[in-house]
């Protein structure tokens, strides 16, 4: 089947003398991102000499290399070769990561905005938001910030007119057709509907992150009591 925006063959774009982008399509679509995931895995397995980092994005991969060890003339043919074998690659088993979220109240100061915009009750918003499994297209902006796909159309809500100076760590929000969470406190204009007690970015732990691009996120509604209990456990870890 033809997917709109998917390139027949990957397009290569130089990003300076130590990196390049391998682009698989034009927009945001699961089929384009699936190609990104498959190539990311193929490259991680192949580990071409001189490649320092492989960074998957919505629709491309940023490859960072050491110009003392390799160059695009060497790497492009390797990637082209890998591309021809992507279809035979076994599909990735998506990992599902459950994120407990306490919706509304002090943790979701913009819950009423979202309810009013769509004439929904708080329970309906929670149901619509916690029902899907969201695909993590990409992680970035701040450490562990997931760009998620799959928000229900009935929850699309524009950003706040005036962004907050400081969005608390763990906040879960909506901006237009996107939903996501803030792993570290930072300025932001998303409509906040809840908060997770989990530490989404724990630099001191051996595994600082709970998920990566390609995983799926499922939000699990919890009570304030459960929030406090999990938050305490996280502190003790």
């Amino acid at each position: 089947m033809m997917v709109s925006g998917l390139f027949e063959k990957a397009v290569y774009r130089l990003a300076g003398d130590t990196g390049f982008l391998v682009e698989f399509g034009e927009g945001i679509a699961p089929a384009i991102n699936a190609r990104v995931r498959a190539m990311t895995r193929a490259l991680e397995n192949k580990k071409p000499q001189g490649v320092r980092e492989i960074i998957p994005t919505y629709r491309s991969i940023l490859v960072i290399y050491d110009p003392g060890k390799t160059c695009p003339d060497t790497l492009f043919p390797v990637i082209e070769q890998l591309e021809t074998s992507l279809k035979t690659l076994e599909p990735e088993r998506a990992r599902r990561v459950e994120i407990p979220v306490c919706y509304g109240g002090d943790f979701g100061p913009d819950m009423e905005n979202v309810q009013k915009a769509h004439d929904l009750t708080s329970d309906q918003v929670i149901q619509l938001h916690s029902h899907p499994e969201y695909l993590i297209y990409m992680v970035g902006f701040t450490p562990g910030f997931p760009f998620l796909g799959g928000l229900d159309k009935r929850l699309f809500t524009p950003r706040l007119e005036t962004p907050r100076m400081l969005v608390p760590e763990g906040s879960v929000g909506i901006a237009n057709n996107q939903t996501g969470m803030y792993p570290i406190a930072s300025p932001g204009g998303w409509q906040l509907i809840g908060r997770t007690p989990l530490k989404l970015f724990a630099p001191d732990r051996t595994a600082p992150f709970l998920y990566k691009a390609g995983d799926r996120i499922k939000f699990i509604p919890i009570s304030e009591q459960q929030f406090s209990r999990i938050a305490r456990q996280e502190e003790d870890r």
């Binding site: 130089l14 940023l62 001191d204």
Partner: protein
């Protein structure tokens, strides 16, 4: 062992190393010294290897009480420096002893100086690096710029048998008009490149210039009429020249991972130090080169560093 007491922190002083690698796919920027060339030379001059951490000093230098005998060296931006009120030189190793007072003054040329100390600054290694990522409040000394009263430790290391002095002809100049070489891409197809924008008259460095990025001011770079004003957000290399809707270029640096505007060109890796050494009001003139030339310059820099390393045995 405690080694340095910060009596006055200066303009913006952070603990940095070569950078934090391997976590950009999780949104953790590389951070690290902005002028890697000057940073490496500072380490070389005190006999450290490349992985040691030092201080990045911005515009105004700190006042430091020395708590331990060691060798130090200051490279990068030109800043007058005194040891117990006596002037001392940059680009050379200096033996310091407990109770010495090191004072580094206002910048005279360039923007960022690098202070290396024997053994390197000892701070917890976070995700493989000592570098401070100020925006994420991680790494370096408590994830923040240094403050008055901070006491820093260093790793134990042997002192130099003979002082090390960089040959004068190897000391870089940091002119107020910097030539910055770029490669087109990754999104040069968003712009009319004939005649090429960006390469004409120089751009001025504005006051919005920090480790995240440098906002420039000059002739606007317009996006092609049929192209969207933004791109699907994607990670950006340090040195990417992003063009927001007002057409004024922003050079993205080491504390930024994802950007949503088209990037017409990317500063070559060996010229990033030149960007790092410009200050608000300075001018940058862009020149386009090709990938082969950029890689040749990269090789030459590696060879040059090896030559200097051999000089000191």
């Amino acid at each position: 062992m405690t080694a340095l007491k910060i009596c006055a922190p200066g303009g913006f002083t952070t603990v940095q190393d070569r950078g934090r690698f391997g976590f950009q796919q999780m949104g953790v920027p590389v951070s690290g010294a902005l002028d890697l060339s000057a940073f490496r030379l500072a380490n070389l001059l005190v006999g450290n290897d490349d992985t040691c951490a030092g201080l990045e000093i911005t515009v105004m230098g700190p006042k430091i009480e020395i708590l331990k005998e060691m060798d130090i060296a200051l490279t990068g931006a030109k800043m007058a420096m005194t040891l117990n009120d006596q002037p001392v030189e940059q680009w050379t190793s200096i033996r310091v002893r407990p109770k010495d007072i090191l004072t580094i003054s206002m910048v005279q040329q360039g923007c960022r100086a690098y202070l290396a100390v024997s053994g390197g600054i000892k701070v917890p290694r976070i995700m493989g690096s000592y570098a401070t990522y100020v925006g994420g409040k991680i790494g370096g000394f408590m994830g923040r710029p240094l403050q008055q009263g901070d006491i820093l430790e260093t790793h134990d290391a042997a002192l130099l048998k003979t002082p090390r002095l960089l040959p004068p002809e190897d000391i870089p100049e940091y002119p107020a008009q910097a030539l910055i070489r770029v490669l087109w891409g990754p999104q040069d197809h968003y712009f009319d490149v004939d005649p090429p924008p960006l390469l004409g008259t120089p751009y001025m460095v504005t006051t919005k210039a920090d480790r995240m990025g440098y906002r420039l001011q000059g002739s606007a770079v317009p996006i092609k009429k049929n192209m969207p004003k933004s791109i699907v957000s994607e990670p950006a290399m340090p040195g990417s020249i992003q063009i927001p809707p007002d057409g004024q270029p922003i050079i993205l640096l080491v504390e930024q991972t994802v950007g949503g505007y088209a990037k017409i060109a990317t500063v070559i890796s060996t010229d990033l130090p030149r960007v790092a050494q410009t200050t608000p009001g300075d001018r940058v003139q862009f020149e386009k080169i090709d990938l082969e030339s950029a890689h040749r310059l990269h090789r030459e820099e590696t060879q040059n560093f090896r030559r200097l390393k051999n000089l000191f045995g």
